[in-house]
């Protein structure tokens, strides 16, 4: 099946359209079934994926607007493969654990459309198609936050939409300029990313374009000064919204850096290492501290999520295989862990309709299963060895150590601060005597919640102990990208900075 990518993109969309016909009572079962099929399709993609091939696979190319250089161009490599699988997995698990009953049919249909845009972003190899899915993903999210969110939901959803929309319009101008440059150099209009990779641009062009793309991606990540929309969005979004937002939508930003900024503007990227590293470290430490100051459990996780995105950014700009590979892996681990944490907070919110830590205490004795799973996820978030969180974080820090030991140490404090605030959450909510009467009768996880969370726990442990099957394809593609960036770089400094991996196997693997 060579066109599996198209199937992956449009299957949820068609299912969403057909979903209008499905009866309200059966909508949930319909959604879960569709998401499960989509997940199985993405697994099939993984099995038919050739791990030894570092380039684009399953490429589909159909010209759409040849006069303007826009074509329907899809492909997948080691970097995007696992993000796609994670996106389909988190959609499936999010739907399974969903406790919303009001307007459930609309929610299912919206989620299916959202799934289309998420998969679309990660498989698009044409900048306009990428932009199309990128922008389209805002609409379902706007609806999810705005229709099922908390009291400030309209403000939060509109803020989310406008922030991202404004940033991506600047990015669009960057794309148009890049296409224009491509046209004036080659005489052909093309928006294909792989064509753009071939462009060798002067450094000042690279810097401007890097800036334009930076706006689009940094707001999505969100990088430090642009992060203010995220706590609102998380604070107001329903559980499923937060899960998808943290797990997949934020990854679009970091993925954009890996797919666009680095290979297209290698010299500018090298020049921007220090500024971005500084912003990332501010992001890591500052938001970790802010997280510590929160009273609301969900806000703690929201801010910790920003903090971890800082680690991912740092790794991307390490310019070596460990850093970038670790970042991509960290994207997956962050998606699974923070998604799971948001689901766990959702569980307690469903029971008590509050997320304030002061309301809880001693939950471990009332809800033992819940406490165990929460504990595992929390450890993974902190980066405990043998969990999924450790692998990515370690590789990123290892990679960035080659760039700047001091900054790496600063970034490493995130593990300590992270441990402090996460354990505080755990202490306040789960340990000690049950002080609040209302907590004494809380039910432990029911079957639905348990079975949504168990797979995530298994993945956390599995990839923490044996990450090789995932790391290897990522590593291959990252190394190919670095070699290519090194060849393409104009300045000598950039060439020195971009480390091409010497050995081809077993590097970056945690022993």
């Amino acid at each position: 099946m060579d066109n599996i990518l198209s199937v992956l993109v449009f299957f949820p969309a068609i299912a969403g359209l057909l979903g209008f016909v499905v009866n309200k009572e059966s909508a949930r079962a319909y959604g879960i079934t569709v998401a499960a099929i989509e997940f199985l399709l993405s697994l099939w993609l993984w099995f038919s994926f050739d791990s030894a091939n570092a380039g684009m696979q399953f490429v589909e190319l159909i010209p759409l607007i040849p006069d303007f250089g826009v074509s329907y161009y899809l492909g997948v490599d080691g970097i995007s493969l696992f993000i796609i699988i994670m996106a389909t997995l988190m959609t499936l698990i999010g739907m399974m654990s969903m406790s919303i009953t009001e307007n459930i049919k609309n929610m299912i249909i919206t989620l299916l459309f959202l799934e289309m845009t998420m998969v679309g972003v990660f498989v698009a190899l044409d900048a306009i198609i990428f932009y199309l899915f990128w922008e389209l993903s805002l609409v379902p999210m706007l609806y999810i936050i705005g229709a099922w969110g908390g009291p400030l939901r309209v403000y939060a959803s509109v803020k989310f939409f406008l922030y991202t929309f404004a940033g991506s319009l600047i990015m669009l101008i960057g794309m148009l300029f890049l296409a224009y440059t491509y046209h004036s150099l080659t005489g052909v209009w093309s928006f294909a990313i792989t064509d753009w990779y071939a462009l060798v641009l002067p450094v000042n062009y690279q810097l401007w374009l890097f800036g334009a793309f930076f706006f689009g991606f940094a707001i999505k990540v969100p990088m430090f000064p642009f992060h203010t929309w995220l706590p609102y969005a998380h604070g107001q979004a329903p559980t499923i919204g937060s899960v998808i937002l943290a797990a997949v939508l934020l990854k679009m930003g970091t993925y954009g850096f890996v797919r666009f900024s680095l290979p297209m503007f290698p010299d500018a990227s090298v020049l921007m290492i220090t500024p971005i590293a500084v912003i990332s470290i501010i992001m890591i430490i500052y938001t970790a501290m802010v997280a510590y100051a929160q009273k609301d459990m969900k806000q703690v996780i929201a801010y910790s999520s920003v903090s971890h995105m800082g680690i991912i950014m740092l790794g991307i700009f390490a310019m070596n295989a460990e850093g970038i590979g670790g970042s991509v892996f960290q994207m997956l681990s962050h998606g699974i862990v923070s998604g799971a944490l948001f689901m766990l907070v959702g569980v307690i919110y469903d029971r008590r309709h509050t997320k304030l830590m002061s309301e809880f205490g001693g939950l471990a004795s009332v809800m033992p299963k819940y406490a165990v799973i929460f504990g595992i996820m929390l450890m993974a978030a902190v980066g405990l060895p043998l969990t999924i969180g450790f692998v990515g974080e370690f590789l990123v820090l290892l990679g960035f150590y080659e760039v700047s030991p001091i900054m790496t140490i600063l970034a490493g404090t995130s593990i300590i601060i992270g441990a402090i605030y996460m354990l505080t959450v755990y202490k306040k909510s789960f340990f000690g005597p049950v002080t609040n009467e209302a907590n004494k009768t809380l039910k432990d996880l029911d079957a639905k919640e348990t079975w949504s969370l168990i797979p995530l726990v298994l993945i956390v442990v599995w990839l923490g102990v044996y990450p090789k099957p995932v790391l290897e394809p990522i590593d291959n593609s990252v190394k190919a990208m670095l070699t290519f960036m090194n060849e393409k770089a104009v300045t000598q400094e950039a060439r020195d900075m971009i480390k091409v991996a010497k050995s081809s196997t077993n590097r970056g693997e945690v022993k």
């Binding site: 932009y131 706007l142 705005g146 229709a147 319009l169 148009l176 300029f177």
Partner: protein, 496 residues
Amino acid sequence: MLQPINVSLESLNLVTLAPMLIAIAGGLIILVLDLINEKLDKTLYVMLTILMLVIDFGAVLGLNVNERGFFDVMLIDGISIISQLLIIVGSMIFIPLALTSKRFHEYSYPEFFALFLFMIGGFQFMVASDNLILIFVGLETASLSLYTLIALHNRSNSYEAAVKYFTMGALAAGFFAMGSAVLYGLTGSIELYKVAEVLATRLNETGLMIAIFGSSVLLLVAFAFKLSLFPFHTWAPDVYEGASAPLAGYMSVIPKVAAFVVSIRIFGMYIDLGVEWVRMIILALAVITMTLANIMALVQEDVKRMLAYSSISHAGFIMAALALDTTEGTTAIFLYYALFMFTNLGAFAMLWISRHKNRRFDARYDHPYEKFAGFIKIMPTGAVIMGLFMLSLAGVPPFSIFWGKIYVMQAAVNSGYIWLAIVMGLNSAVAAYYYLKLIVYMFLKDPVKDVDTIYYNLSKPLMAVIGLATVATITAIFYVQPLISYLYYMISASGY
């Protein structure tokens, strides 16, 4: 003694006049029918109008590119053909909206349809000539018909709108006449191609620049009125509000296409002559128009007024493409309007189906935002369609206007105006807010009161029109390519 003038019929090339004459003849037929039997129903007139437009469409398609006719005053070049096609297609989408099941004053008069066809004839004359007098005649025929069409809506604010539009239009006509007079004084000709030739030779004469400056300013003012550019845009929201919703949507597209064609001919000539500050002024006007109209649209409480300001902002957007004066820029103008036409007419038609005889929500406005609160719960399909139109207007891909937008922005980037592309991008981001506001009302709020009859004016023909607009909005990605290549071919064939 006057010499007899010998003119052969072939040299007149009368076929160039055929499209306009068909429209005008159609109008006359409608009037005659009314004279014979005055009890005829409006459905007959609507269908007759559509049929006349079909013939008109065929006649335009049959024209050869780059021909002159009728004492060389008619100019059938690429842009005159594509703009006539646009005008006719837009009119064909508009006129079935008259088939509402409710009785509205204007549609009970056959004159409405006759005037409508005369107006189209006027627009066609306007775009198919480079003779300043014929342009003027076309402009006035179309405008005078349009004023009456607005007034026929028969409410106090539609009279206000018609009178306001008439006064402003008369002022603009005055400016146009004065500008043309200065050009005639400078060159002794009213044919634009001759004007350009003479001006090119006299450009270096001392003291002439001030006269050229004067003529361009007068003409710019005239067209800034017609295109509702800052600071001559103030009439537009009131007029749109006073006119019936479909007519307002129509006014935001078709007359502007015609005015843009004339602007391309006139200001393109100035820019080609190297009068660089005409470009500067147009750019400045365009930027101010899109920004200011966006800011004004943010604070509107009525959806129709918001759409009016949004249309002004879109006009500013397109005006910027005119200043580029490249083939791509000119293609962008037509592409944008071709795509904008469906979405904007669709959005206004959605207002039309929610039009009630009484103002049930607000004493001041027909379509306050509150009216659409919880629209998703009252009429899910309608809400989704309106949401699509709003997203398209905001420039969210893959809906139609996105493609127009990136084409305009690409044209700006290609001409080296990157700052302009950035201004356009930022403006689109601002604009997203007010389109989003309607989406928020429709999807995220609860209905204000039991508003079971928000779709009061719904009927099958209206649904068909809206359905067509929706399909055109969603499937834009599939027809943009043939559209661009056709437009580009026609425009480059006529030398712009």
